[in-house]
């Protein structure tokens, strides 16, 4: 059933994609043009030409990039809301809706973290991956807007999925930071950083940041799992039944608990911690992709 609201939603999503594209180009520009070619003698050391970064030159571009990202976020928000209105339910009844809402959460997590940390070095990656997600959603996963089956009509579902999507956004951000750590560590082991990587914070900061992000949302994820259990109890008569989706939510929970223990009580840092963080994040992604697409069980309600 395709209503005006559903069409409106699609326009919003398309315009958001346009803005994310501009944001991506601006971020890429900024990254490229902050590199200042050596001009004067002061930038030569011996015979070696040393390139430096000059963010003053590109500050304007960087601001445009972030502004576009914020506008894209708002348009996507409008798209997600109008999609919800068109279907008369919260917009995560199928994979298409889940993807656009997930993209919204990821952008939101990035923008929220941006208020506290200067993460603009991540902007290229964030805008690109959001574009990719939205593109896949629109082209491969699109389904007409449809009403929810009765079991999904529940306040607890809204609470559960909201908490899960927000946690997912932050977990993914932590994963991206941990992956940057691993990449940068390899680069540094071979010598000094190339110019374009100089703006990325030090390894220590990245290491701390991914931990902070995980520690920040772990309670929310715990809450999401509990809210899911409360919902399952009222819909299916049991609060836990080892359905594949539940099982993977549990695995993700245990993996992050192991990560927090490894850091806080055993003292893991650096590479090992980053790998564990990425592993834990992958269990979250796996749950989303594998269980929704190929899995069986009560949660595969979506017709994709």
């Amino acid at each position: 059933m395709q209503t005006t609201w559903a069409y409106t939603s699609n326009y919003f999503v398309y315009s958001a994609m346009a803005l994310f594209t501009i944001s991506f180009i601006a971020h890429a520009f900024e990254t490229a043009f902050a590199v200042r070619a050596p001009e004067a003698a002061d930038s030569t050391q011996g015979n070696l030409l040393v390139k430096t970064l000059d963010f003053k030159r590109t500050e304007k571009t960087a601001r445009i990039a972030t502004a576009m990202m914020i506008l894209g976020f708002l348009l996507l928000l409008a798209g997600v809301i109008s999609r919800g209105i068109s279907a008369h339910h919260v917009p995560w009844g199928n994979m298409y809706e889940f993807s656009i809402t997930g993209a919204l959460a990821f952008t939101g997590a990035y923008l929220a973290a941006l208020r506290k940390y200067d993460l603009r070095w991540l902007g290229v990656f964030v805008s690109f991956s959001v574009l990719l997600t939205l593109g896949t959603a629109i082209t491969l996963l699109y389904r007409n807007s449809a009403p929810l089956v009765p079991a999904l009509k529940s306040t607890w579902l809204v609470i559960h999925v909201t908490a899960a999507i927000i946690s997912g956004g932050v977990f993914l951000l932590a994963n991206v930071v941990a992956a940057s750590y691993l990449y940068l560590e390899r680069v540094e082991s071979r010598g000094p950083r190339p110019t374009w990587l100089q703006r990325v914070p030090s390894l220590d900061v990245l290491d701390q940041l991914s931990y902070r992000l995980v520690a920040f949302v772990f309670p929310l994820w715990t809450f999401a799992v509990i809210a899911g259990a409360i919902w399952a109890e009222s819909a299916w008569g049991r609060y836990w039944g080892w359905d594949p989706k539940e099982t993977w939510a549990f695995i993700t929970w245990v993996a992050y608990a192991a990560y927090l223990h490894a850091r806080v009580t055993v003292g893991w840092r650096g590479r090992r911690a980053a790998w564990l963080c990425i592993f834990a994040g992958s269990t979250f992604l796996f749950n989303y992709v594998y269980v929704n697409v190929w899995g069986t069980g009560k949660h595969t309600y979506s017709g994709l």
Binding site: P147, P150, P219, I230, A235, Y239, W242, P244, V266, T283
Partner: protein, 488 residues
């Protein structure tokens, strides 16, 4: 084995103590935690008996050899398997062994005074000196009190500490995990779960004989069922006309409990509650109401016969068994709420509501095999000792006549599947879950820190220490210093 001298020397008690220390060490806990995560994986990839018994049966038929190995490793029942249980039992012993002693220590530490002010404050974080006199101590005491620090006063210094909530929260979190586990075990030992199909217009009485399936927890007494009755007055299922997807299910019922009668509504997300027992609306289907007569016109069977839905449009199959006819008669039936035909599939249903209902059947006579003692599915006919005598189809109000008698489709009533679950442990699991989140919040967001101030003839000295590198100490000390330096 003569070269293994170390272990015998420990002695039996020593060995036990050594094993206990190993088990309750953080490294072991971490390994167990990871093992639990990895151990849960196969259960989501291999079909499980508790969630999908049919898939397990199909898997065994398709891969008999592999299935044997799976069976040996309990891979069709991972979450009840000895090895999975071993992991979580060890984990929780380890948890108790680690958390209980820490709780006592923490309790003692909370009641004790903060440690004395260190001699050399300049080695600590955020060390500052400025001029001032004994008045500074007085102001500091006020500031600490106002900011709810615990303090220890000495003649020239104050040692203040705050942020015990972090450790309290951490301990609360781990203790509540134990509570969750206790709740889960309690529920599975003392609970029960059953399902019953009830036709609209009929009454369900909560007795073991009313159930189609019923399982009790290991320690549940079988006559513990609470004595309620539910009469199903009406059931309405709404479907989306474009997608055929269900939109809403509602059952109107009359409940009799402890002599009191009331009208209630059951929906998919709104079960009925009787103490620890809840009644869920779990599935629905149709029961053709038939009258079967013998060749002389005597009624041999009359009433609704539940049929099992096979797809989203409620194409249903079932068996009508007439043991009282001479000879015995049985029908293998398909019921279509909205009948249609395609060349490829034959009869199908194209909508789940009763728009154009039709019952199609084959007629069999002979021995139904009901006296053999082997339990039979009520939805299938055992045709081993039967012979087929005809085929037919009828709509409501129609009668089909065959040499041995006739069958009339009077009308069609919906049935609902009531799932009755008693779980006396779930409230503990829920309380545990809530406490766990609260504990986590104060553990992960809490900051434990100390601040010291000392006044000497040289002036005032201030320093601090943040445990676990908690952020924000700098700002806090800045506020503290501003407060002390502030107007008199």
């Amino acid at each position: 084995m003569s070269n293994q001298v170390e272990i015998p020397e420990l002695g039996f008690i020593g060995l036990l103590r050594y094993a206990w220390r190993q088990l309750t060490s953080m490294r072991t806990a971490l390994i167990l935690l990871m093992m639990m995560g990895f151990g849960a994986i196969p259960g989501s990839l291999i079909p499980q008996r508790i969630t999908n018994p049919i898939a397990v049966r199909d898997f065994i038929t398709a891969n008999p050899h592999l299935a044997q190995w799976y069976e040996r490793l309990s891979l069709f029942d991972v979450y009840g398997s000895p090895w999975f249980s071993a992991i979580y039992i060890l984990l929780f012993i380890s948890l108790i062994g680690c958390v209980l002693p820490r709780s006592f220590e923490h309790y003692k530490a909370m009641r004790a005074q903060p440690p004395a002010t260190p001699k050399n404050l300049s080695r600590l974080e955020e060390h500052q000196t400025f001029s001032g006199d004994d008045q500074a101590l007085e102001k500091a005491r006020k500031w600490f009190k106002a900011n709810r620090f615990r303090i220890r006063e000495e003649h020239d210094s104050i040692s203040a500490e705050k942020g015990f909530l972090r450790e309290t929260g951490n301990l609360l979190f781990h203790l509540s995990l134990i509570l969750v586990l206790v709740g889960i075990s309690f529920g599975s030992l003392f609970g029960m779960k059953g399902e019953a199909i009830v036709n609209v217009g009929e009454r369900f009485i909560n007795l073991p004989t009313s159930y189609d399936t019923l399982t009790f927890g290991k320690l549940t007494s079988e006559n513990s069922l609470s004595p309620f009755e539910i009469k199903v007055d009406k059931f309405v299922a709404q479907y989306d006309p474009k997608t055929n997807a269900p939109k809403d299910y509602t059952a109107w019922v009359t409940v009799t409990d402890n002599g009191k009668t009331s009208k209630e509504i059951i929906k998919v997300n709104k079960p009925l509650t009787f103490g620890n027992t809840r009644v869920y609306l779990q599935a629905n289907g149709y029961s053709p109401v038939v009258t079967v007569r013998d060749s002389e016109g005597n009624v041999a069977l009359q009433g609704p016969v539940p049929f099992l839905p096979q797809d989203g449009n409620l194409r249903s199959i079932g068996a009508i068994k007439v043991p009282d006819a001479q000879p015995q008669v049985g029908f293998v039936g398909s019921f279509m709420p909205t009948n249609s035909r395609t060349p490829a599939q034959g009869a199908i249903s194209i909508f789940p509501e009763l728009l154009d209902p039709k019952l199609l059947f084959s007629i069999w006579k002979g021995d139904l095999g009901l006296d053999s003692g082997i339990p039979q599915s009520v939805y299938r006919l055992d045709t081993a000792k039967l012979t087929k005598v005809g085929l037919g189809s009828i709509k409501p109000g129609e009668t089909f006549t065959y040499p041995e008698g006739s069958i009339t489709l009077e009308n069609v009533v919906p049935w609902i599947n009531l799932q009755v679950v008693e779980d006396p442990g779930k409230k503990y699991a829920l309380i545990g879950g809530i406490l766990a989140v609260l504990g986590l919040l104060s553990s992960l967001y809490g900051r434990r820190r100390r601040i010291w101030i000392r006044v000497t003839t040289h002036g005032v000295e201030v320093a601090g220490l943040a445990k676990n590198g908690a952020p924000g100490l700098k700002t806090e000390i800045q506020n503290f210093v501003t407060a002390i330096k502030g107007e008199n």
